[in-house]
């Protein structure tokens, strides 16, 4: 159980130990803020005044374990584990409300994207959690064909997360099929290899700079 999920009773186990909710400075990851800032072009996020505008305007904040305001504070302080394991980063729908409204012009959406990038790279998310799985399935389809096929994406997603969800989507899927809004024919660009070359070149160019 995460420390933050414990009740006060559970925090004190038989009087032997008192669990802490808060980390000591020495346990925090001091390099985390810089790592995220680099990925998010977000050097300015150190100027956050913790006003909470982002959390107020966010349409999904009440489903999040940490609100966007708290995420910014936790990134800044170095709570690497907690932030990367949070649901928040996956629930972010990338609607840019927070970014548009932040009085300090912090690009919170880009911070959320940066956190997703790190979490996906390090494989830190529950195995069958659909959001990161979908991102990676999408990534693969486009890498191969240059274009996405929505029907195939939904199918792969269901198979890799919860095959029973196919039943839930069956009715909608059938209707889409009948109205000609999904097809089995896969769209693709002329030369399939071109996207792979392009994406490979990005990796090489990035490495070259290091």
């Amino acid at each position: 159980m995460e420390t933050r999920d414990r009740t006060p009773d559970q925090l004190v186990d038989l009087g032997e130990n008192v669990h802490r909710l808060i980390k000591y400075e020495g346990e925090l990851d001091q390099g985390f803020a810089a790592e995220v800032a680099r990925l998010a072009h977000g050097e300015k996020f150190y100027t956050c005044i913790q006003c909470g505008t982002c959390s107020a305007t966010c349409p999904v904040s009440h489903y999040m374990d940490f609100t966007p305001r708290r995420i910014i504070a936790m990134v800044r302080a170095g709570f690497r584990e907690e932030v990367l394991r949070s649901f928040t980063i996956w629930l972010c729908a990338s609607c840019y409300s927070c970014t548009a409204d932040c009085p300090r012009e912090i690009k919170i959406t880009d911070v959320m994207y940066a956190l997703k990038q790190i979490a996906i790279k390090e494989g830190i998310y529950p195995k069958r959690f659909p959001i990161p799985v979908m991102a990676q399935e999408f990534y693969k389809i486009v890498k191969k064909k240059g274009r996405n096929n929505e029907g195939k994406l939904m199918m792969n997603l269901a198979l890799k997360t919860n095959p029973f969800s196919l039943l839930r989507y069956a009715k909608v899927g059938l209707k889409l099929f009948r109205t000609g809004r999904v097809t089995l024919r896969e769209e693709s660009i002329r030369n399939h290899g071109e996207i792979q070359t392009l994406l490979g070149a990005v990796d090489r160019a990035r490495e070259a700079a290091k």
């Binding site: 999904v60 729908a93 990338s94 929505e150 839930r168 909608v172 889409l176 160019a205």
Partner: protein, 297 residues
């Protein structure tokens, strides 16, 4: 003016009626528009979550192709029309970062070169446009009014803009209270419903992943739209349209409600007011038939 059309993946599948209606409306208005050859996916939110530089490079390939297809064109920038809000916003975002960040521009340049494409000045040579912007500002409300053959008198239409069409990179309308679609609705003889949730997120891909959250966001929009007396809701994005229309059954089950709100593309409604056939605007592809006549007072 000549336009190049960047469909993006959705307009070739779930968003098919959007493609059909946009092209038919442009044709009816005598606007020259041609599909971008060999375009690729913009990368959507997925590539952003995996690798931002790859996402920018995918967008840049499309822009480079557009410059190539456009040719010299009197030195005017190529007008690249992207009807999907996600594509539109990502293309703009890529331009923004290629300009602002030398590292981004260096990587994109190297990557494009490997596939034989030129990346010089893509942010100046390509203007990313949304069809709503083109219709409201280039073609103009007056010309659209002139084409109306079947005015939709009294029909209460809810303009829904969603998020990415108006922020954070778009500049053609107000990010908090956009009005282009409202003005178009009025030009068709209908009545735009004034509501506060115009730019509130529909849930995006959450409706396909975490339905408890995604469907809730869509449901709130539909509930408010019908509370305000809306008879038809218009969208300008294939994902918004899909979420708001196709999952209504799921919403009704989950929230014990009976929402039945037709959700169409703004271009479909324009087409119908121009008296185009159902087929021309892809009306037969909707799950809930479009409403075109106002309820009796």
């Amino acid at each position: 003016m000549k336009y190049l059309y960047f469909p993006g993946c959705s307009l070739k599948s779930t968003g098919k009626p959007y493609e059909e209606s946009i092209l038919s409306v442009f044709r009816a208005l005598d606007v020259d528009i041609e599909e971008l050859k060999d375009w690729n996916c913009c990368g959507a939110t997925a590539y952003m979550a995996v690798d931002e530089l790859k996402s920018f490079s995918l967008c840049a390939r499309n822009m480079a192709l557009a410059v190539k297809q456009h040719g010299e064109g009197n030195g005017e920038p190529v007008q690249l029309v992207a009807p999907c809000s996600a594509c539109y916003s990502l293309l703009l975002k890529s331009q923004h970062y290629m300009e602002e960040n030398p590292e981004v521009s260096r990587v994109v340049k190297t990557a494009l070169k490997e596939v034989g494409l030129e990346s010089e000045g893509l942010s100046q040579k390509v203007r990313i446009r949304h069809p709503l912007d083109v219709l409201a500002n280039d073609i103009g409300i007056e010309r659209i009014k002139d084409q109306v053959k079947k005015p939709l008198t009294g029909l209460k239409v809810v303009p829904y803009y969603g998020c990415l069409l108006v922020r954070p990179y778009a500049t053609f309308d107000d990010p908090y209270n956009p009005t282009s679609m409202d003005r178009l609705i009025r030009a068709l003889g209908a009545e735009p419903v004034d509501w506060a949730l115009k730019t509130r997120c529909c849930g995006g891909t959450l409706s396909g992943t975490i339905q408890g959250v995604g469907l809730r966001l869509s449901y709130l929009l539909l509930k408010e739209a019908s509370r305000k007396g809306g008879e038809l809701l218009l969208t300008a994005c294939p994902l918004c349209q899909f979420d708001l229309e196709c999952f209504q059954g799921g919403m009704n089950n989950r929230f014990q409600h009976n929402v039945q709100m037709p959700v169409a593309y703004f271009s479909q409604l324009i087409g119908k007011a121009f008296n185009l056939s159902d087929r021309e605007v892809g009306a037969q592809r909707l799950f809930i038939p479009m409403k075109l006549e106002a309820a009796a007072p």
